[in-house]
Symmetry: C2
């Protein structure tokens, strides 16, 4: 039955495997929420399904359920009122560990087929999940649909494809024939069984509750590990819907549904994440979130392989441009998108004090700053577009950080653009903020070399582009980064920037002026994070992300 | 020039890549020390080269040399008298780190070609290295030549092939074309650069100074990391010769020779390994040795990815056999080989108290024990064969452990076979010991569930084969193991044993009665260690062993 699923989805898997190798554009799930792609009633049905979850108990199929909890609040201004099951991990984890055997024994193809079926069903729920992502993360609907739906599904498929490719790198069986000169050869029959490493824990974040959860979930699942998802307390619903879909597919296949489970804190004031992460059954951990907790996981969970994505300081180096307008438009969108709450949003923009050369002639530092400020304001002048692009501020603490950063900015530099509170056309209570821009001198490293999560960016006045490169390199090396962008018309300068990015280990985007943005990465082509600077110890996805999630156990005997 | 090396060795690389995928027999370097393979004077020349090293200073090309040290003693009874350079790691490591750029920039194929050339040259020094391994590890010459020479080289090639395969999984460049409906597509040019993670440290052991060093060395080197080898103080020469050969090849290619370096303790009483392992430049560590130090590395070197092979308790389950003679002969050789000083030698042999069924009729526990004791004694009755197979005891502490194990055995069980001190026909001072066999009841877990490194084995009297399986499973899970062997004529029993091996995560050898032994593993076909029990956190070699040693750094721009 599971084998049928593998055959059913084989073409999609092959296309994904091909995309990994070529890294050309590929997407398995339509990114447009158009009725032509998802059906005439998909939006209405998805919204209804989302609303049907509100103020009710959400059911999952797990041993050891003890009660229920949950206190999510939409950043758009209302309580979700959903209660999810709480579980006794002393019952759940041994049961999940027990399920390893059956999950191992169905084999590589059956597991892969099941993962692909789960992704297909998740895709069919893209609108429902999109609204769930919107009302937990605060993203605008279009972004919540795309990044939380098809783009996240693509990242999940990418992880499945990498995992499958790594698992079939060795054959399931082999005959070994060693010549012995004149004598008969030695002949051995061997089997090689892929075994997961244990129970896998995936710790989600509040801003991208599916996009940052699916890669770890599917990478661990396809390689033979039961997976327990621990969503962020503020973003449970998108994970819960995904887990429920996985459980449905597993049950239909005659497998224990709790091979994919979810644990939440019975009391958010007393998180169970540390206890969960140090359980002996847990051999794999994926985490997206703050640096102190990521570091704690890396340093204290010796029984597990730990994959982390943590804080960082993303940078842009502006040296010169032959398309000033395109650059400003590109950066205006980049800084506005989801109010800078992406782990890929640039925080520090380095500009020489003497200004830059452009196709519009020389521009002083202040003129560049002013153009960016105006560009953002103009871009956000349409309230509907502002509502869609900015979305809401996920957490109150981020909202407050904008105000404290403004105070700091006034003290140590100049506030180039105020972060105002636009009104959301559809949700009057939505917590909206526009980007704050602060100009500072390069010596104010204490301020701009620390991650200030949210729509807060520094325009840093440097002595020269060489100085900008030096500071950007330092930001990556010492504070981590997932993205670096640059603008220059000089090949020599670009070469220096490329070397800095390579040496520090960060993905570089060069002269983006059209419809590709430094904070966006495309599954199957762009590696999200490199794993070689403090912002992350792994990349989504590459071979290193999957190869350590399983082991090969061999047996041999004389033929 | 390096590209030429890649082309030169491409056929060998392709054969290795094919072997990894098929896991059929393959060996790139002749395992027979025959003049037809290595030349008429190879043995004499190799022995002369080995002797020329004695009582002299060994030169290596590294920045920061401060003096010299070294106090190796051959287990065959003489001092080597070789002095090796000591270095200031505050000078060496930054220089190695600096060399990362050039080592990265020459690219995947050039690095691969250089690694293959180093292996070819090492192969040409197989006799010299064989004698060096013999007179540090104490192995008999034939084993020192094979395991320390061609078999180690095969493991090195295996690591190179895996590393190469992992690196070319992503293309070096790609064009990404995303359709935009009626509009022009978005087109991006992308590059993907493989970058090593930093300086790699390889910590060698005294018993297999090349076999356990080459996989880590070549896996890290080919993937772009300069490598510093820290050999065991008792087994420096084989590593030093290998490092020198690597330096020669690097220098010829116009590269800094210290891309491969060696550090030894200026004072063996004050090892520098911990300091070295915690250096910020060091991002990869490979270690073979004792469990406490392996655990220390895993728990304290957070800046590095750590690969360890540690202690374990290997087991044999004897249930029944249709070839009693073959079983006894096979186990006699297995326990004798290198006096049980292999990380793959069985320590615990589980036999039901009620005896076993065989092709020679029922055999009681005592009859099986007696047959094994006699089998070993008969096998070692030829002094030259005994000298060749047993070799010498590498460390005095192992010698003493045999005596204390004998005392313990007498107290808690029965000494079935005494470990005597055969005289080596060629080296009268050689520290030789034959296998000690102790019969104990199954409840003496305190004794037999702890690794007693050396020629010490327990015949454990169990209630039944089911009990044997339970204990063997426990040994792997709680104490680690690299090998498990079993003998049974029952498919049902074999199925139970296979499930136990799979669940605990250990390689299983079934009914070995002919020329393949449980303690031997063949490169390109057998995975050495699984990485999923306490004996090792990695396998030599698989994708997981190489995929985490490099990162992919991308850049992108509009086409």
């Amino acid at each position: 039955m599971s084998q049928t699923l593998f055959d059913l989805h084989k073409a999609k898997l092959d296309a994904a495997l091909n995309a990994l190798r070529t890294r050309d554009y590929y997407s398995a799930y339509a990114e447009s929420p158009s009725p032509r792609k998802y059906g005439e009633t998909a939006d209405k049905d998805g919204q209804a399904a989302f609303k049907a979850h509100l103020n009710r108990s959400f059911e999952l199929d797990m041993p050891g359920i003890t009660g229920e909890a949950g206190s999510e609040v939409s950043p758009y201004g209302f309580e979700l009122g959903i209660k999810y099951p709480t579980v006794d991990i002393d019952i759940l984890l041994p049961a999940m560990n027990e399920a390893r055997k059956v999950w191992r024994d169905i084999g590589v193809q059956a597991r892969t087929g099941i993962c692909l079926e789960i992704l297909k069903r998740i895709n069919q729920h893209s609108f429902e999940i999109g609204y769930a992502v919107m009302h937990t993360s605060g993203q605008g609907f279009m972004m919540a649909f795309q990044a939380g739906g098809p783009h996240a599904q693509d990242r999940g498929l990418e992880a499945v494809a990498y995992g499958y490719d790594a698992m079939i790198h060795s054959p399931a069986a082999a005959t070994w024939t060693k010549p012995q000169g004149k004598h008969d050869p030695l002949v051995m029959d061997k089997t090689f069984t892929v075994a997961g490493r244990g129970v896998a824990l995936v710790i989600g974040c509040s801003t991208f509750p599916t996009w940052n959860t699916y890669p770890g979930l599917f990478a661990s699942l396809v390689t033979g590990n039961p997976v327990v998802v621990k969503p962020h307390p503020a973003g449970i619903l998108p994970a819960a819907i995904s887990v429920k879909i996985a459980q449905d597919v597993l049950r239909e296949q005659g497998l224990p549904p709790h091979i994919v489970s979810m644990v939440i804190d019975a009391d958010p004031a007393q998180p169970c994440t540390k206890a969960l992460a140090q359980r002996d059954e847990v051999k794999l951990i994926d985490f997206t979130g703050n640096t102190p907790f990521g570091d704690w996981l890396e340093h204290n969970c010796h029984q597990a392989q730990v994959y982390t994505e943590k804080a960082g300081v993303n940078t842009i180096i502006i040296d010169s441009t032959d398309n000033f307008k395109g650059m400003i438009q590109n950066l205006s969108f980049t800084l506005s998108l989801y109010s800078g709450q992406m782990c890929t949003t640039p925080q520090d923009i380095f500009i020489p004090a003497g200004g830059i050369e452009t196709d519009q002639g020389h521009k002083s530092f202040d003129e560049v700053a002013e153009a960016l400020s105006t560009g953002i304001t103009r871009f956000l002048s349409d309230p509907e577009r502002a509502g869609m692009v900015l979305g809401c501020i996920q957490a109150e603490v981020t909202d407050k950080r904008i105000d404290s950063a403004r105070e700091l900015g006034e003290k140590i530099g100049t506030v180039v653009r105020e972060s105002d509170r636009p009104e959301n056309p559809w949700f009057k209570e939505g917590r909206m903020r526009s980007p704050l821009l602060i100009a500072v001198d390069a010596d104010k490293e204490d301020a701009y070399m620390e991650e200030l999560f949210g729509p807060i960016s520094f325009l840093v006045r440097t002595a020269s582009t060489a100085h900008s490169i030096e500071l950007a390199h330092k930001a990556v090396k010492n504070h981590g980064a997932i993205t670096m962008g640059c603008y220059s018309t000089s090949d020599a300068v670009l070469e220096q920037i490329e070397e800095a990015a390579l040496d520090a280990g960060v993905a570089l985007s060069i002269n983006l002026t059209a419809g590709v943005y430094v904070n966006q990465s495309a599954a199957f082509s762009d590696f999200h994070a490199t794993g070689c600077n403090p912002a992350a110890n792994a990349s989504l996805s590459d071979l290193a992300y999957v190869a350590n999630r399983f082991r090969i156990i061999q047996s041999r005997k004389h033929a």
